[in-house]
């Protein structure tokens, strides 16, 4: 069993960078046999790290940074993405996807649900977001999403019905899926592949959209916890403003962090707990190291188990009879000449 301590997730960034450089170069040039890599630059740390690694592996002339803002993105995201790209010397393509999202009815259908809760909701004036209850370590609570709306006068909270929540997620997920379409369009024109930015924390707990930001060709950072991505970020040259920015899905005009939207605790605690749970470290040992109670640790472990279980399909290929080994036997009639 691994010895658990607060430094257990510390990596050697130089060695890890070299390992990822080799991985990316091998995948792009030898396995996929492509000419380069497309990176969707969000202004966040994961995509910035990936861009740096791809440049390190392939050279800046074989990397295309694609920036895909929409009207509800933070304005800071575009600025930071472009500054990171400029520092790396990579080409960029900026496409505002607002019109595409409007054509899909993303804003209209989502806002219609919001107006079921607050009829006076005005998307031009009010700021909406959905969030889970506060820190899972502070109190036991189910993962129940609350719709929060900030008006000029007050902050309002509404509990949604299940069909309302489904409608909101279905609409919002189109944002990530639209970006996937554009990234593949760019990649296929250039005979590049699409690099993924999902880290291990997100992969394990299902914090990505199926065929959205999960629809990529390679996932070089899927073995790195978020805090390890931050360690790498400092080493590979991610600009300080990106490194100090609170991680966010950047899909809600009301602004919501990863912690508020999904994980219910800060990454520096989450990753250690998630590692401990994955490695089977006894809760009491974890509690002692992290100065938590055993109950708090068990509560976190239960939350991990629940999220991982609920999102199993994000990490698996679609079930099919070929994989199950029964397809041919039932599909093909026996040849009479082979029967004796």
């Amino acid at each position: 069993m691994v010895t658990f301590n607060r430094e257990v997730l510390r990596i050697d960034p130089e060695r890890e960078t070299a390992r990822l450089r080799d991985f990316i170069r091998h995948q792009v040039l030898s396995v996929f046999k492509r000419k380069g890599a497309v990176v969707g630059l969000s202004g966040g740390v994961d995509s910035a790290v990936l861009a740096c690694l791809c440049v390190h592996a392939l050279g800046s002339d074989r990397v295309l940074g694609v920036v895909l803002p929409e009207k509800e993105s933070s304005p800071e995201s575009l600025d930071l993405a472009m500054r990171q790209a400029a520092l790396l010397g990579v080409r960029t393509e900026v496409v505002d996807i607002t019109a595409l999202l409007e054509a899909f009815g993303v804003y209209a259908s989502r806002n219609a649900v919001i107006r079921e809760a607050l009829p006076d909701f005005d998307a031009a004036r009010d700021r909406a977001r959905i969030a889970l209850p506060g820190n899972v370590l502070s109190r036991a609570a189910f993962n129940v999403y609350t719709l929060k709306i900030t008006t000029a006068r007050e902050e309002l909270s509404f509990r949604l019905k299940p069909d309302q929540l489904r409608a909101i997620f279905a609409a919002q997920n189109i944002k990530q899926r639209t970006r996937m379409i554009r990234l593949y369009y760019c990649a296929e024109k250039l005979h590049y592949l699409v690099g993924g930015t999902t880290n291990r924390t997100e992969m394990d707990q299902g914090f990505f959209v199926k065929y959205g930001d999960g629809g990529v060709d390679i996932e070089p950072m899927a073995h790195l916890y978020k805090t390890q991505v931050f360690q790498l970020a400092e080493h590979v040259g991610v600009i300080e403003e990106i490194r100090s920015r609170a991680p966010s899905p950047d899909t809600w005009p009301g602004g919501v962090t990863d912690e508020e939207f999904y994980f219910r605790m800060p990454y520096h605690t989450l990753d250690l707990l998630l590692f401990a749970w994955t490695e089977g470290i006894p809760a009491d040992d974890v509690a002692r190291v992290l100065e938590l109670t055993g109950e708090q640790v068990e509560r976190a472990f239960r939350d991990f188990r629940s999220k991982k279980s609920a999102t199993w399909d994000l990490r698996e290929l679609p079930p099919n009879l070929v994989a199950q080994g029964t397809a041919l036997a039932s599909a093909v009639e026996p040849n009479p000449s082979e029967q004796s």
Partner: protein, 88 residues
Amino acid sequence: MKSESDIIKSFVVSTFLVGFPGSEIDDETSFLDSGLIDSMRILELVEFLEGRFGVTITDSELIPENLDSIRRICRYLESKGISATGAP
């Protein structure tokens, strides 16, 4: 007359355990530990309980202590004045 426990179990089995035998859960089965509950399903459970038993579950009551098993739900409903037969 069906008991409260039977009514809740029937809902859980028909909604969360489609295709699985009902004997897989008992009154003590933790919905969280058994992976039966996620962020959508808890809303379905709340909607069912509020509709079927006429209770209002406040945000502060949406905790595993009250809703994480059939037994806990029954205890919670009794605290809200719902009898063992599901009547107010």
